[in-house]
């Protein structure tokens, strides 16, 4: 008799939470858990799980627990569309992700048709938010935003005769053209505009020609391997001109290639590095993350995914609903100056983030990336 009562008690304990609590609020995470961007995706997962745990310890949202459902997009459009379909069939109300622009693009319509809010964290291509999709948002800035910041920075640093160099990739060329147009409107002279061939080792011919145009500021919009070689060979030429890069040069290999002496004084634009996030929310978040994983987040994009998740929870709380339409309307019209991890957050009608995200970094004498005030 006692035995049976014991079993009943155990069963009650096991099933009680399931019987009495409401369904959890399901939020999807689509990220590159494998492939060449796997480090980004895995950190996205760590960030979201940490934040979800924190909310759940405070009782979740709408009296329900938050459940994160993760799917791997592999950094590949085809894998991503499968991942999106899988998430939709699991009845998520919203999804955070993903990193690459073309990967996000492959999934936008799937989520839109299913009525799921999507908040991308690393997809900066302009066209993503120009399609008129109601439920698409992103916490990262758009590519044209960087062009504006570049222009402002060049003016602030005193560039009067600017040389712009890109590498013919669609990202770098777009940024270069955007900056050239902006500089023209700002009445700053562009004395040089051309492209190098990425993957080569010797850029002396280009630097010699560049020097011949006599610029007082050089803006390179390409990637870090070439930027490192340019700095190294510029030093060897004994040419002392301020150099600035776009956000594709943000990699320590740049300093290794150039050498700390040649890289010193190099400026570049980037969303803030996790170590430089300064709001109280960010500080306590980085602290909690460090406590759990032994180090601060390595990249800013997972933190931007965290911001996407936090505004979602905020919208669910504020609208007291899990309907995509209400959440989207709230994010676009009512959310103002939300204290995000990466600065204040708000969205415009297209779902793009409002406000400046880019910061200016400078390489110091030890080869460290230091935030410019």
């Amino acid at each position: 008799m006692n035995k049976i009562a014991g079993w009943i008690a155990i069963f009650c304990l096991l099933f009680a939470p399931a019987l009495f609590a409401a369904d959890p609020v399901k939020i999807g995470l689509m990220g590159p858990m494998t492939g060449s961007w796997a480090s980004e995706g895995q950190e996205m997962k760590q960030v979201l799980e940490l934040l979800a745990d924190e909310y759940n310890q405070q009782g979740g949202v709408l009296g329900r627990k938050i459940q994160i459902l993760t799917q791997d997009d592999g950094g590949d459009p085809r894998t991503a569309s499968l991942a999106a379909n899988r998430l939709v069939s699991q009845k998520i109300i919203a999804v955070v992700g993903t990193y690459g622009s073309s990967i996000t693009e492959a999934t936008q319509n799937i989520y839109d048709e299913a009525g799921v809010v999507q908040i991308a964290n690393g997809s900066t291509a302009i066209r993503l938010s120009e399609k008129g999709l109601k439920n698409f948002f992103r916490t990262c800035p758009r590519d044209d935003e960087q062009g504006k910041v570049a222009t402002a920075t060049i003016q602030k640093l005193g560039g009067k005769k600017v040389a712009i160099l890109h590498d013919n990739t669609s990202y770098a060329k777009g940024l270069a053209e955007e900056s050239r147009a902006n500089l023209k409107t700002a009445n700053v002279e562009v004395v040089f505009f051309d492209a190098l061939t990425p993957g080569e080792r010797d850029y002396n011919a280009i630097l010699t020609k560049l020097k011949g145009a006599d610029p007082d500021f050089v803006f390179f919009t390409g990637y870090y391997p070439e930027a490192g070689l340019l700095l190294r060979q510029k030093k060897e030429m004994g040419w002392d001109v301020p150099f600035m890069g776009g956000d594709a040069v943000n990699n320590p290999t740049l300093v290794e290639t150039a050498g700390a002496a040649a890289a010193q004084g190099f400026y570049f634009l980037s969303p803030p590095l996790p170590k430089d996030l300064d709001t109280p929310e960010a500080k306590s978040f980085v602290e909690a993350f460090t406590k759990k994983h032994g180090h601060a987040p390595k990249s800013i994009y997972p933190v931007l995914a965290g911001d996407g998740f936090r505004v979602l929870v905020e919208a669910i709380k504020a609208t007291d609903s899990v309907e995509a339409e209400k959440i989207s309307a709230y994010l676009k019209s009512s959310l103002k100056d939300f204290p995000g991890l990466t600065g204040t957050l708000a969205f415009d009608d297209k779902g793009d983030r409002v406000g400046e995200v880019y910061r200016v970094y400078k390489v110091d004498g030890e080869g460290q990336f230091v935030l410019e005030p």
């Binding site: 061939t197 080792r201 010797d202 002396n204 010699t208 020609k209 070689l229 190294r232 060897e236 290999t253």
Partner: protein, 301 residues
């Protein structure tokens, strides 16, 4: 005018490396009528082996910069030369009697194999040589300031090329190589060990390619596993430009290609640099289909 001469030296520095790699293509073609597509990857292997030996042996700490790098160059050349011999044994010799296309496919396969082998051994990231192995100081020549490293590279390339030329022209083995290049069957009848000749060719060519890889590593600092592709392509072009199968032609072709690239970038457009270089190649081939020095068929290699 100063800019013109500056660009000329820029072009010669790049061209010296192209020429050194082009020698490997041209020697193999001269003897075997085979384009060794894996040659660009042997160049990459030279750069990686150089870095590994440099960091593990710390030679430059013991014997100083110049001597250390020279010893390193000899070691790298020997190792890459041995890899070249193995490559010939495994990938080309079994196909010597097959149609020529089979050997070309085998060469492409070897190239893919090497590239992936490097990636899997070292990883896909960029590697960087230690800074300041050799003193960085500009030398003034005729009012032009030229980095010392660039002069060393050009001088080393030219020295190796001259040594090779003398070796092929003046020694017994060199004579055997030239004989095998003209007619393998007849050379064999004259008592020349053709297999040995081919082995020598597959030692020297890759050794020079490996030396070029080490130079690129030491001078430019940054290496990665795909770097052999662009250099291989340019050197191959240089070999054809000079007349494939002809050693002085490869030197001339390499230096010329480097200079055309630099001047094209300087006076026309940087983005169109490669297009200009290849346009010049097409023009030269229309006028001289055998390349600049390629006409003396009897004196191939």
């Amino acid at each position: 005018m100063e800019q013109f001469f500056q660009q000329l030296t820029n072009g010669l520095a790049v061209g010296g490396i192209y020429a050194l790699i082009a020698l490997g293509y041209t020697m193999v073609y001269g003897v075997l009528k085979l384009i060794n597509f894996a040659h660009g990857d042997l160049f990459t292997i030279g750069a990686y082996l150089g870095l590994t030996l440099l960091t593990s042996l710390a030679l430059t700490d013991h014997v100083g910069g110049f001597l250390g790098v020279t010893i390193l160059a000899v070691m790298v050349m020997g190792l890459v030369g041995i890899i070249g011999i193995l490559l010939e044994r495994i990938a080309y010799r079994p196909l010597r009697q097959s149609p020529r296309l089979s050997a070309v496919v085998s060469a492409l396969g070897a190239s893919i194999f090497f590239q992936n082998a490097i990636m899997l051994t070292y990883g896909a990231k960029f590697y960087v040589y230690p800074q300041d192995l050799l003193p960085v100081m500009p030398v003034n020549i005729f009012g032009l300031s030229i980095p010392l490293m660039r002069i060393i590279i050009l001088a080393a390339s030219v020295l190796m090329m001259i040594a090779l030329y003398l070796f092929v022209q003046k020694t017994r083995i060199g004579t055997a190589i030239r004989a095998a290049a003209i007619d393998q069957g007849a050379a064999r009848l004259m008592g020349i060990d053709v297999n040995f000749v081919i082995m020598i060719v597959f030692f020297i060519g890759p050794a020079l390619g490996g030396a070029a890889g080490l130079m690129v590593g030491v001078y430019y600092g940054q290496i990665n596993f795909t770097m052999g592709w662009i250099y291989g392509l340019k050197a191959f072009t240089a070999a054809i430009l000079g007349g494939i199968g002809n050693i002085p032609g490869a030197m001339l072709g390499g230096l010329l290609l480097g200079v055309v690239e630099a001047l094209g970038a300087a006076y026309i457009s940087i983005a169109w640099k490669d297009a200009i270089a290849f346009f010049v190649l097409i023009l030269i081939l229309i006028v001289r289909p055998t390349g600049l020095l390629g006409e003396r068929v009897a004196e191939k290699i």
